[in-house]
Amino acid sequence: MDYNKNAEQINPFGNVSTVLRPSARLSAESHLLGWNVPPHELRHIPEHWLSFPEPPESLNYLLGTLYIFFTFMSMFGNGLVIWVFSAAKALRTPSNILVINLAICDFLMMSKTPIFIYNSFNQGFALGNLGCQIYGIIGSYTGIGASATNACIAYDRYNVITRPMEGKMTHGKAIAMIIFIYMYATPFVVACYTESWGRFVPEGYLTSCTFDYLTDNFDTRLFVGTIFFFSFVCPTMLIIYYYSQIVGHVFSHEKALRDQAKKMNVESLRSNVDKSKETAEIRIAKAAITICFLFFVSWTPYGVMSLIGAFGDKSLLTPGVTMIPACTCKMVACIDPFVYAISHPRYRLELQKRCPWLAINEKAPEASSVASTTTQQEQQQTTAA
């Protein structure tokens, strides 16, 4: 194996003496990254990281704490989404299955953070290669899964909005999409886990793990290019395409409606005039831009970083810098429930019913109609009696 050969060539101690910087050598207490890794685990760590000095303990504690915060936020938000969407009958529509799947991905993404948190509080590669592999597997499935689900949600919304009469999602179609999403992620995970193509390696402060984008060979570069294309470029293109189509269609619908109103000599479309200051077009455009932007912010740092690692100037990738992309995608897992579910009026309604302590003040248009039909029935009964 290529990697093993590489690892054998590096004598960790020899390495230290050649790369050690003056400042590090002056202080007796400062170590290089990975000094506390047992020798037999060293071969799992790309040599790139071993040349950097160890980060201050406080930085590791800070990241650990941040991850604890992310974990609670995401598990709370996404857990709520999963619970309410699967418990409330009104919300069990085929389209919402995709929203639930996104919440599941985001929820499970956090199931790997205990490894990171433990590592951070133990200053490095504390759980060893096994922890790293688990972290990598969960990370790839949930990361690729979440981005593919985002693309599927975009497709579904595009279908519904551009063809409101026919573009109807069915349960079968939604489930088929979800199966496809996980099958889509599987080749990358299997290839990395078996180390047949790419591998999972620690990155940054050696507390988190991801696919290898640093090893300097053709296989790795090809792998980075492939995963970059399939799990970043494809979903991003689809998302941007579908949302821009949605905005375009809403614009043309509004225009068609205004034309018809003009034909009938009607000047006001009340729904647009006094209910909200913004027109429908602007509202939708804002929502679409928010979603696209959020996706872009969450995954672009990772994409760019891996490309730099494989094809660019590796010296740009200091351990501290590489922790940023890892944080952005965790952060998005916390924001997703707000973007996809909290903006859903029916979800807010259900949530208000189930968790009154959240103090969500959602008007209930549905409730009034139900109430009025019942009074009507009562009246019929009384008149009949």
Binding site: A90, T93, S95, R157, V160, I161, R163, P164, M165, E166, K168, I246, H249, V250, S252, H253, A256, L257, Q260, A261, K263, M264, N265, V266, S268, L269, R270, S271, D274, K275, A280, R283, I284, A287, A288, I291, S343, H344, R346, K363, P365, S368, S369, S372, T373, T375, Q376, Q379, T383, A384
Partner: protein
Amino acid sequence: MVVSVKVFKKATPNGKVTFYLGRRDFIDHLDYCDPVDGVIVVEPEYLKNRKVFGQLATIYRYGREEDEVMGVKFSKELILSREQIVPMTNTNMEMTPMQEKLVRKLGNNAHPFTFHFPPNSPSSVTLQQEGDDLGKPLGVEYTIRAYVADSEDDRQHKRSMVSLVIKKLQYAPLNRGQRLPSSLVSKGFTFSNGKISLEVTLDREIYYHGEKVAATVQVSNNSKKSVKSIKCFIVQHTEITMVNAQFSKHVAQLETKEGCPITPGANLTKTFYLIPLAANNKDRHGIALDGHLKDEDVNLASSTMVQEGKSTGDACGIVISYSVRIKLNCGTLGGEMQTDVPFKLLQPAPGTIEKKRSNAMKKMKSIEQHRNVKGYYQDDDDNIVFEDFAKMRMNNVNMDD
């Protein structure tokens, strides 16, 4: 038999303002349209110094409410006309006989009102949804509403607002026309000489709901292929102008092999009978029906008629058309050939013999229904029957929330 006039009545949730309407179906005669004429009764001590405003609105709903995402609304409401009803601003308004009757009967607190449909306003159409769907109906709907407020733009309170769904329909012209629609097509084949020609002729241009459509099919086969079977459909074409969407649905169909195969050199003349009926298309998604109100017998949507000199492209809302489609199956290699013959499916206009016949049928039914329902308020002088809607369809108020 006592001839009684049925009057529709609906009150606000607090019971202070009540609509009285002589009918809920308003007919578009193309050159003019029946105005919405009715009477409103308000308690003066409740009103104090406030006013009563009325609106005629149309609601387009072109997608299910539960599918709405990202804040997209699949429904739009257009206020077609608005007016101050109490105190009356339009002093030279002429009351219709129905309004006169109602004002006489209901006393001093009754105020007549009239709304006019603007030209080009679409007909009421409901798009059928699958059985278990409890959402608001898709299609074009009209509603009239009245509310109590200080000024026209005041926020309307649900308690003092009443709204009632009404229908705008089109009837067939008195003369059904003499033209027999027909279509002739022929099809050649890539690797063999000769053609199959297909001619389809209908026995009428305008059919009434429930009538049999007779399509005479003439096939003459001058090719080397043979016709294996004949399929015959009645297709309903629906165009939703607000989203520029259109789709077609088969509302009646049959397939036959009788007289088939039509071998090379053979001819066939055959008449197919199909009846397009809403009853045969229950629970099918997207079938267009004439705008319908609760628990009424309903028929398929009538063909959209436009004023002479205008094209259907100018029509608003939902545009409906029908055609008979004949498909010949010329075997696996020969492929299919098909042709469409358009026709119109309409309600008979009042006064025609057909209308009287179908009215008589309806009356029989409704008399039977009325026998079973007690509690209607019978009036001895004018024979007015009040049909109280209570708070039915209050939800329409929130269409655009």
